[in-house]
C-alpha cells in the first residue's frame, strides 16, 4: 500500500476506534445515570407509600377519637374518655412524621398546614361535645350507663393486624435495602464491563496496527527489490540484444559469402554436364557410329555407356549437395532476416490466430487423421507475424510426429498470469527422449526416427523468435508418450533497445 493510502487508513482506524470508545463510555454513563435515577424514583415511591400510611394513621385516630366521643356521649364512660385522650395524643406525633416526610414541597406543606388546621378545628368540636356531655352527666347522673368492656375479639383483630403491619414494614425496609444493593451492583457491573471491553478493544487495535505495519514494511521491501531486479534485467536484456544483433549480422554476411562459391559450383557442374553431352557425341563419332536421325546421342558400347552413366552420377551428387547447402544457407538467411525485422505490436487474439493456422493446415490435419482442439486463449499485444510463424511451426511438428497407428489428438490451451500468458501445445504423438530435449532446438539438428521430411530448422527458429518477443519456449516429453510444448509470452511486447 502506498504511504498515502496507509496514512488514510490510519486516520480511519483512529476515527473508528474513538467513535467506539465514545459509544461505550456514553452507554455506560447512560446506564449509570438511569440506575441512579431508578434509585431516586424508588425512594420517592417508598416515601409516597409512607405518607399514605401516616395519612391513614391520622384518619384512623380521628375515627377512633370520634367513636370515643360518641361512646362517651352515649354512656358517660370514663373508659371512652381515656381512649379519646390516647387517640388525640398520637395525632401530633403523626403530624410531625407527616411534616418530616413531606420535605420542602410547598404544595404538600400547604396541604399539611390545612390538614392540621382542619384537625384542630375538629378537635375543638370534640372538646365542645365532651364539655357539654360532661355537664349533662354531672347534672343528671342517671343518664350514665355502665361501661361496656371491650370485646376480646376486637383487641385480637387489633393485635394481629398491628403485628402484620409491623412485619410488612420490616419486610419493606429489607426489600428497599436489597433493591438499593442490587442497583449498586448493576452500576458496578456496568462500569467493570465497559472497562473490560475498552481494554480488549484497545489491545486488539494495537495488535492489528502492528501486523499491518509489518505488512506495509514487507511490501515496501518487495517494491524495492523489484525495482532493483527490473533494472538488472533491463541491463542484461540490452546486453543480450546487442550480442544477438552481432550474431545476426555475422550470420548474414557469412551466408552471402558462402553463396558466391555455390554459384560457381552449380554453374560449372552444368557446364560439365554440357561438356559431357558433347564428349559423348564426339566419342560416338570417333567410334565410327552415326548420329541418330532425330539428333539423339549415338548408341555406345557397354563400357562407354557405363563411363557416361558414372559421370552423370558424379555430377548428380555434386548437384544435390549444392542444392542442400543452398537450402541450409537460405534457411539461415531467412532466420537472420526475421531476426532483423522490426516488430509491430498489435492486439492479437490467440484463439483466432490458432484457428486460422489450423485452417491453413487443414490438408495435413486430415492426412494425419488428427483432431485439433483449441481451448479459450487470452489476447496479447505482440508481433502477429512472429506469433504465426511460431505456432504454425509447433502445430506442423505436432501433426508430423504422430504415432502411426494412433489417431492424433492435439490440444492447445492457455491461461493468463499477471504480466504474461502461458500457452501449451499438447500432442499424443511419438514423443521426444529426454536426451534429445536440447538437441531438437539446435539449428539443423533433429531427433528420433528420421522418417519425416525436415531440415531441423523449425524449433530453432521458433525459439529464437520467442526469445526476441521476450518469452520462453520449453518442452516436456517422454519417448512414446507425446509432447507438451510450453510457450510463455509477455502480455505486452517489451521495449526493444536501439539497434
Amino acid at each position: 500500500m502506498t504511504p498515502e493510502a496507509a496514512r488514510k487508513r490510519s486516520v480511519w482506524q483512529v476515527v473508528i476506534l474513538t467513535t467506539a470508545f465514545l459509544i461505550i463510555v456514553a452507554v455506560t454513563g447512560l446506564s449509570l445515570l438511569l440506575t441512579q435515577q431508578l434509585r431516586e424514583e424508588n425512594k420517592y415511591v417508598v416515601r409516597s407509600f409512607e405518607i399514605q400510611r401516616e395519612i391513614l394513621k391520622i384518619q384512623l385516630e380521628m375515627r377512633r377519637a370520634e367513636s370515643s366521643v360518641r361512646s362517651f356521649l352515649l354512656s358517660g364512660s370514663t373508659d371512652a374518655l381515656q381512649k379519646y385522650e390516647e387517640s388525640i395524643g398520637e395525632i401530633p406525633q403523626i403530624l410531625a412524621e407527616l411534616r418530616g416526610l413531606s420535605g420542602a414541597d410547598p404544595g404538600q406543606l400547604d396541604a399539611g398546614n390545612r390538614l392540621q388546621t382542619a384537625i384542630a378545628n375538629q378537635l375543638i368540636k370534640f372538646e365542645d361535645a365532651i364539655r357539654i356531655g360532661k355537664a349533662a352527666f354531672a347534672a343528671n347522673p342517671a343518664l350514665a350507663r355502665p361501661d361496656i368492656p371491650d370485646e376480646p375479639t376486637i383487641s385480637q383483630v387489633r393485635e394481629i393486624s398491628t403485628k402484620l403491619f409491623d412485619e410488612e414494614t420490616r419486610d419493606l425496609q429489607e426489600n428497599i435495602a436489597s433493591a438499593d444493593n442490587t442497583q449498586r451492583l448493576v452500576s458496578r457491573a456496568a462500569i467493570a464491563g465497559a472497562l473490560l471491553v475498552l481494554l480488549l478493544a484497545g489491545f486488539s487495535a494495537h495488535l492489528i496496527r502492528r501486523s499491518l505495519r509489518a505488512r506495509d514494511y514487507a511490501a515496501a521491501q518487495l517494491r524495492h527489490s523489484n525495482d532493483d531486479l527490473e533494472i538488472a534485467v533491463a541491463e542484461r536484456t540490452a546486453d543480450l540484444q546487442e550480442a544477438n544483433h552481432e550474431i545476426q549480422r555475422f550470420a548474414y554476411i557469412v551466408s552471402h559469402d558462402l553463396r558466391a562459391p555455390l554459384v560457381n559450383i552449380m554453374g560449372f557442374t552444368t557446364e560439365l554436364e554440357q561438356l559431357h553431352g558433347t564428349m559423348v557425341q564426339r566419342l560416338g563419332v570417333l567410334a565410327g557410329l552415326e548420329g541418330k536421325p532425330d539428333g539423339a546421342a549415338p548408341s555406345l558400347a557397354e563400357k562407354d555407356k557405363q563411363l557416361a552413366t558414372d559421370f552423370l552420377e558424379a555430377t548428380g551428387f555434386i548437384r544435390s549437395s549444392v542444392e542442400k547447402m543452398d537450402r541450409l544457407i537460405s534457411a539461415i538467411l531467412r532466420m537472420t532476416r526475421e531476426g532483423r525485422r522490426e516488430f509491430t505490436p498489435e492486439a492479437v487474439s490467440l484463439k483466432e490466430l490458432m484457428e486460422s493456422i489450423v485452417t491453413t493446415l487443414a490438408h495435413q490435419v486430415s492426412q494425419a487423421d488428427a483432431t485439433v482442439i483449441i481451448r479459450d486463449l487470452p489476447t496479447i499485444a505482440s508481433d502477429r507475424l512472429s506469433l504465426e510463424q511460431i505456432f504454425s511451426n509447433l502445430l506442423e511438428n505436432a501433426l508430423k510426429y504422430l504415432k502411426p497407428d494412433v489417431p492424433g489428438l492435439i490440444e492447445v490451451r492457455g491461461g493468463s498470469r499477471p504480466g504474461y500468458v502461458i500457452i501449451e501445445v499438447i500432442d499424443n504423438g511419438c514423443g521426444i527422449a529426454l536426451k534429445d530435449h536440447q538437441r531438437i532446438f539446435d539449428l539443423f539438428r533433429r531427433a528420433g526416427k528420421q522418417d519425416k521430411p525436415g531440415q531441423g530448422i523449425g524449433l530453432a527458429h521458433a525459439r529464437a523468435l520467442v526469445r526476441k518477443l521476450g518469452g520462453a519456449l520449453t518442452v516436456e516429453s517422454q519417448l512414446d508418450k507425446g509432447s507438451t510444448f510450453t510457450i510463455t509470452l509477455p502480455t505486452e511486447l517489451p521495449q526493444i533497445g536501439p539497434r
Binding site: A260, V263, N264, M266, G267, F268, T270, V322, E323
Partner: protein, 147 residues
Amino acid sequence: MTSTAVEIVMIEDDEGHALLIERNIRRAGINNSITHCANGASALNYLLGADGAGTLHKGRALLVLLDLNLPDMMGYDVLELIKKHDVLRRMPVVILTTTSNSEEINRCYELGCNVYLTKPVNSDSFADAIRQIGLFFSVIQVPRIIT
C-alpha cells in the same frame, strides 16, 4: 541492342562467375564484345579514363554489369560515381549480385541503378537466368556517350 557496337562492361571479381556469365550470355546469342574488370579501381579507370573525364568512349554505347561485392570498394560506390558523372550518367547499369537484401536494393535504385538482379544459385537457374538476361539485353536500347 540494335547495334553490335554496344560494349558490355562486366565488373565482377569472381573469375568463376565472370566465366559463367560470359558463356551464358553468348549462349543467348549475344555476340557483342564483353570487357571484364576484376575490381572497382580498374573498372573506374577503364570507364572514366586516367583524367576522369569519361571522354574515352565518346560516341560509343556502353552497358555496365556490376557486382556489389568487389574486393577493393563497395559496388554502389562505383554506381554512385558513374551516375553522378556528367558524361557517363546515362549509361545503363545493371546490378548483378548475390545479395537480395531489400536495404541494398533500395539503396541501389536510390543511387540510380537501372536494373537490380539477384544471382540465383539453385540448379539450372543461374545459366537460365543469365541467358534470359542476355535475351533481355538484346532488346534494350543503349544511348551513346556524348560529351
